[in-house]
């Protein structure tokens, strides 16, 4: 494994290996000395062309806890804003001899393109509406902590599927792990042409959240991306909350053992009510905590082992 660009590149065994290692990494989080010497001397650049709190900070913490040197670059305040091309920026950083770039970019496919231009390892930290593999891995990790093996489990992904890279990575990750996935969204927020893909992957499609909730083991509420909501996808936020939000009333429809996930940041009162976000079944903060452990595991798998980038 040299790059992490898409969950589609990972086998079931590789996913499980990353998740199992993350369990041990999680233990380090509770130590007084949160430091392992594993990636000493390695340099990791966090290259974020889009805003991020949890992904960027957890990748940075993960790198630091493994003793790598981590540096943050954003689109703003770099030569990108002076008009330098992406290729030249990447080549420049590559020439400094870094070992890994963790890339978030608004264009789908940018990390895969960057991987062609450099010899360092590339981690896709979210590209456009394509994928967000580390998020899917930490979601699977969090669900496994609570539910055990995901084989045969039923997970509903609810909300703005059109714009969600989290949803795309999660479908690939969950189905590879043997879970049954149901997609719930208003027709306007279902990606165009999803039918044949859903049929091939064995995904259920529903527009009725109330009918799906009683059958799930986990429900993942996806953020309504206000910054991409210029196209009139639903009449009002209020109507969306009533038909597709995880409201206090809908909490009662969930089976007792079922868990609630949200990749964050949450729009409380829109796709998820405060009651649901703070319920005992909510794993929102567990997801954040798992984020560091899973990302440590990703960095370890990409930057150690025979023939890892020098």
């Amino acid at each position: 494994m040299k790059h992490l660009l898409s969950i589609a590149d990972l086998s079931r065994e590789e996913i499980l290996e990353i998740l199992d290692t993350a369990v041990s990494m999680h233990e380090v989080q509770h130590r007084d000395v949160k430091k392992l010497p594993t990636l000493r001397g390695r340099t990791i650049i966090n290259f974020f062309f889009e805003d991020s709190t949890r992904t960027r900070s957890s990748f940075e913490i993960a790198g630091k806890w493994l003793s790598a040197d981590t540096i943050n670059l954003t689109g703003k305040g770099t030569s990108v804003s002076k008009g330098e091309s992406l290729r030249d920026t990447v080549k420049t950083i590559d020439a400094m001899g870094v070992d890994m770039m963790i890339v978030r970019h608004m264009a789908s496919g940018a990390p895969a393109q960057i991987a062609q231009w450099t010899r360092c390892s590339i981690v896709n930290a979210g590209d456009g509406t394509h994928e967000h593999p580390s998020q899917a891995l930490l979601d699977a990790y969090t669900m496994r902590q609570r539910l055990g093996d995901l084989e045969g489990r039923h997970v509903a992904l609810v909300g703005d599927l059109t714009h969600s890279r989290v949803f795309r990575s999660n479908v690939l990750c969950l189905t590879t792990l043997g879970a049954k996935v149901t997609l719930v969204a208003p027709a306007t927020l279902m990606p165009a042409g999803i039918g044949p893909w859903a049929a091939r992957e064995g995904l259920e499609i529903s527009h009725d959240l109330d009918a799906v909730l009683p059958t799930v083991d986990a429900v993942m509420m996806l953020r309504v991306q206000r910054e991409r909501m210029s196209g009139g996808y639903f009449p009002t936020a209020r109507e969306y909350a009533v038909t597709y939000g995880l409201t206090k009333d809908r909490l009662g429809l969930l089976p007792d053992h079922a868990v609630i996930c949200h990749p964050g940041p949450m729009n409380r009162g829109l796709e998820i009510s405060g009651d649901a976000a703070d319920a005992a079944q909510s794993l929102v903060l567990d997801q954040v905590s798992a984020g560091v452990a899973v990302r440590m595991s990703i960095l370890y798998h990409l930057l150690s082992g025979e023939g890892s980038a020098a």
Partner: protein, 197 residues
């Protein structure tokens, strides 16, 4: 000729053609002796903590704890110490799975920590274990107990308690099998077709 070799002819062989150098009763006897030596060296069981190094060191540490209980009637805390992340060969070997480290309640600060492993060879595992332990706390003293010392040290490290000193050639392989993980207790020495470690 070393004593281990002299005994070789009347020794049993395992199904893969290896020579059995320690059988079940001898492993049990060695652990019992080590338990006595630990108590003697420590002048009692005060402050003792056993830390097993995965994989085989973990069940050995548990057995040592049982042996100490039999002798002294005390329960010595047992933990595990995973050293994967502290290895010095991470970049020249395939990626290794990381195991869990578990520190017993009470921690290791101010304790006498006895590291327990199956085979002492190059000493690099112990070097990694010492680094790993330092990140978990500051023991008053650290000791090393191994079931087999096969020589060929590459670092200035020695064991305090040894089940059996086993002179070997580099090419030979020493396999410690334990009932917990392998179905039976035995230590086997074999010569694989030139692979070795």
């Amino acid at each position: 000729m070393c004593p281990a070799r002299d005994q070789a002819p009347q020794r049993a062989t395992d199904e893969t053609g290896g020579r059995v150098v320690l059988a079940q009763a001898e492993i049990a006897r060695a652990l019992r002796r080590i338990a006595h030596e630990i108590l003697e060296g420590n002048k009692g069981s005060e402050g003792l903590v056993l830390m097993g190094i995965p994989t085989r060191g973990v069940p050995l540490a548990r057995r040592l704890s049982e042996a100490l209980h039999d002798v002294e009637g005390v329960d010595i805390p047992v933990g595990t110490l995973d050293i994967t992340m502290y290895r010095d060969d991470l970049r020249s070997q395939p990626v290794r799975a990381m195991e869990r480290s578990e520190v017993p309640d009470g921690g290791v600060d101010g304790k006498v920590v006895v590291l327990v492993d199956d085979v002492l060879y190059s000493g690099r595992t112990v070097r990694a274990a010492l680094d790993s332990l330092a990140d978990l706390g500051r023991p008053r003293a650290v000791r090393l107990a191994v079931l087999v010392d096969r020589g060929h040290r590459e670092l200035p490290i020695r064991a305090d308690y040894v089940g059996k000193n086993l002179p070997t050639a580099h090419a030979e392989r020493v396999s410690v099998r334990l009932a917990e993980s392998d179905g039976a207790d035995e230590v086997v020495i074999s010569t694989p077709g030139g692979e070795g470690r």
